[in-house]
């Protein structure tokens, strides 16, 4: 039993943290709110660092690493509110393509090219959630590569298509960097990468990975919002002292901090389970992680806004840049209540 990141993983995380602290400031984030895009110079930097291609196989120019390696980086992405689609591209699309490349070497050429393009920062992805064909996809508006679902004659199918084959109708989100869009496209035998049981399994595992990857971003967002609240509580004076010296303010922030403290190992453990365990165990761990992280981030958002008071309600205060992402991601890929329901079903089945 060893439940910790390796020194290498921590060094990688720290390096990414340093880069993002410079390249993804709140000024940068405001610029991204004004003109959101997928493949920015920052995306190129992350690709050069190996972050974007982290889960692309080594043979295709990536690092060939797993979700345990990616989670600390997603946490950093959340901390700075990274506007680019690291989650969709690296946590979700690349593993699907990697599995295709391994399973069906025949389809090689296109898949290999796409994987290489991802690793070099040349393609950013959008990925459909199960059972929500009509719902907007994050990263669709301006996305290059789409992993989509269809219902075929033999049941669920997974398709991979590029932007030329997809018509995207943008849909406004409270957070414009989500680049939501409705994707319209024609499934073809060429676009199809999986059918039947394989497709069902792939869709299920993608949803689990998405739950854990989203949870990891939420950890970073929660930490950032709690930090902003604590900073403000130290600075802001009322009644002749910092508001952070009032027990009501202390206990609001402490409560959120405790929730975050216990969400973290749940997310890390789920990442490990997805890399190493059977699907039933991994799914339950993924749902536990997402439920915990959604609740922790929602609580951090609520508390930080309350501590900020009216200033937190303004566009000029940085808080809203993180609030909006936290609200969106708390619900994306299943809300806390959705995942609690999955956890209970799984417990009952296995008991």
């Amino acid at each position: 039993m060893r439940f910790a990141f390796t020194e290498q993983q921590i060094e990688f995380r720290d390096a990414v943290r340093q880069v993002l602290a410079k390249e993804c400031t709140t000024d940068d984030l405001r610029a991204a709110f004004d003109s959101p895009a997928a493949r920015t110079p920052r995306w190129a930097t992350l690709a050069a660092l190996g972050v974007v291609g982290l889960s692309v196989p080594v043979a295709h120019g990536g690092l060939g690493l797993g979700l345990v390696d990616l989670v600390p980086l997603l946490e950093e992405a959340g901390r700075v509110g990274l506007p680019e689609p690291l989650l969709e591209t690296t946590a979700l699309a690349a593993p699907v393509l990697a599995e295709m490349a391994g399973a069906r070497p025949g389809t090689g050429a296109a898949t290999a090219l796409r994987l290489e393009s991802i690793a070099t920062g040349g393609m950013a992805a959008a990925v459909g959630a199960p059972g929500s064909a009509a719902a907007p996809l994050a990263g669709a508006d301006g996305g290059d590569l789409f992993v989509l679902h269809a219902h075929g004659a033999d049941g669920p199918e997974v398709h991979v298509v590029e932007s030329g084959a997809v018509a995207v109708v943008p849909v406004p989100s409270l957070d414009p960097t989500r680049r939501l869009g409705l994707a319209r496209w024609n499934p073809t035998p060429e676009s199809r990468v999986a059918t039947g049981a394989l497709a069902a399994s792939l869709i299920g595992r993608t949803a689990d990975r998405a739950a854990v990857a989203t949870a990891a971003e939420l950890l970073g967002l929660a930490d950032r919002m709690i930090g902003l609240g604590a900073d403000y509580a130290r600075d802001r004076h009322q009644f002749g002292k910092p508001i952070g010296s009032f027990q009501a303010v202390k206990h609001l922030l402490a409560g959120a901090r405790v929730k975050l403290e216990f969400a973290r190992p749940a997310v890390y453990g789920a990442a490990w389970a997805l890399d190493e365990c059977n699907p039933a165990v991994a799914s339950r761990a993924a749902s536990t992680a997402k439920a915990y992280a959604s609740d922790a981030a929602s609580e951090a958002a609520r508390v930080s806004l309350q501590v900020h008071g009216a200033i937190g309600y303004t566009w000029e205060c940085d808080l809203h840049l993180f609030l909006k992402r936290a609200w969106a991601l708390s619900e994306a890929w299943g809300s806390a209540a959705d995942h609690r329901s999955r956890v209970l079903s799984s417990l009952i089945e296995s008991s």
């Binding site: 406004p172 939501l180 009322q238 508001i243 009032f246 009501a248 008071g309 009216a310 959705d338």
Partner: protein
């Protein structure tokens, strides 16, 4: 005071309701047809609606007839509010004046002040904003630093300082606010309540964009802005007591009538019902919260009727106003949070048809535990004044 309990409305009250419903039915603009209150054009759209209501004496039903009202009681006002919200009528651009300043004017204003200000407020000709909070005086309102000194001609005051979080501040014609007229006095003393024309030389406004990108509130800067003596409300140095009367209105009965919440709860039940048809398993997860939200609004309605009866019997509203503010702000959050949970991932869709009112409402509700005195401050009041716990 010895009639038995009876929650039914009288035939006269029901007739009043019918008249209000009929008028609103024929006059309320199509929901969404007015432009945003946070734009100059939208502000005028909303002013026109106030004028239309005033023309038929529906803008301030509980005021005396001489000021444009119908002279009806608090129960009739609550009935009117029910009908107003049921009709999905527009937000009241004159809300700060009609619901916050007016009760204070009736209590503390001179005859001249009432005649000067009330009719123009009722008709929407003059829209008011509130100038209380300052950058360093929020929860600690008594920490106000904006000051007023006697004018050289001794016929008024020169106001200097900065106010903030003034809703409607960008377009309002008038502002009511607290300024320090005696710099030597203790914190709660030496404050005076002024009525200030926004066009006065020395008054400038900076709109503050909100979290949703709209310009809901503004900063107001004062540099030796002259205000004549007739625009002092309630006496020099008595501003704190006068302001507390207004604060009681904001937290208590007059700003937040139950209809706002009972209508929202009603729409929440309808939303739940639709989702129950679409995805019963997922919707059922919100069942408990939907019921709680509806009950919270219903409890607020009943509590308001209880308080209204006490007020009619000559009683007053004390620290219960703080309990009230905690309850309505939490109810508003519960209702909207539950709606967003039902909507699921759709909930982030800004400006989209069915989602928009819930998302906008949620953003507005989030401010509820903050404005009008944070809920933390209100809990202090409840603990100290309803439970007798010692001041810190």
């Amino acid at each position: 005071m010895d009639a038995p309990m009876d929650l039914r409305f009288t035939p006269a009250q029901e007739a009043f309701r019918a008249e209000a419903r009929s008028w609103l039915g024929g006059n309320v603009p199509e929901p969404g047809s007015l432009r945003s209150l946070d734009t100059a054009e939208g502000f005028e759209d909303h002013r026109a609606w106030e004028r239309a209501m005033y023309a038929d004496r529906w803008s301030v039903v509980s005021w005396p007839e001489e000021f444009g009202g119908r002279g009806v009681g608090i129960v009739e006002w609550l009935i009117f509010e029910e009908e107003y919200w049921r009709a999905e009528a527009p937000l009241r651009v004159s809300q700060n004046g009609v619901f916050l300043l007016a009760p204070t004017l009736f209590e503390f204003g001179t005859v001249g002040q009432k005649q000067r200000f009330l009719p123009a407020m009722a008709s929407g000709a003059e829209i008011w904003c509130q100038g209380w909070s300052e950058p360093d005086a929020g929860s600690d309102l008594a920490g106000i630093r904006s000051r007023a000194v006697r004018s050289p001609d001794d016929d008024g005051w020169l106001l200097t300082g900065q106010k903030t979080w003034a809703s409607r501040g960008a377009f309002a014609e008038w502002c009511f606010g607290l300024f320090r007229t005696d710099p030597e006095a203790e914190r709660h003393q030496g404050l005076t309540y002024f009525l200030i024309e926004m066009g006065t030389p020395g008054v400038t406004v900076r709109p503050i964009p909100q979290i949703d990108g709209e310009t809901g509130f503004a900063e107001i800067f004062f540099e030796d802005a002259f205000v004549p003596d007739e625009q002092v409300l309630g006496g020099v140095g008595r501003g704190w007591g006068v302001a507390m009367a207004t604060a009681g209105s904001e937290r208590g009965l007059s700003l937040r009538s139950p209809a706002r919440y009972t209508e929202a709860a009603h729409r929440l039940v309808a939303l739940y019902r639709r989702h129950l048809d679409d995805d019963p398993v997922r919707a059922a997860r919100s069942a408990d919260a939907v019921a709680q939200a509806w009950m919270d609004a219903e409890a607020y309605r009943l509590h308001t009727l209880w308080t209204a009866t006490r007020v009619l019997d000559g009683g007053s509203v004390g620290p219960e106003a703080s309990a009230n503010k905690i309850h309505w702000s939490e109810t508003d959050l519960t209702i909207h949070r539950t709606a967003l949970a039902l909507l699921g991932p759709e909930a982030e869709l800004h400006g989209a048809g069915t989602v928009a009112p819930w998302l906008d409402g949620y953003l507005f509700a989030l401010a509820g535990p903050i404005y009008a005195g944070t809920n933390e401050i209100q809990r202090n009041v409840v603990a100290e004044r309803m439970l007798g716990l010692p001041r810190t």
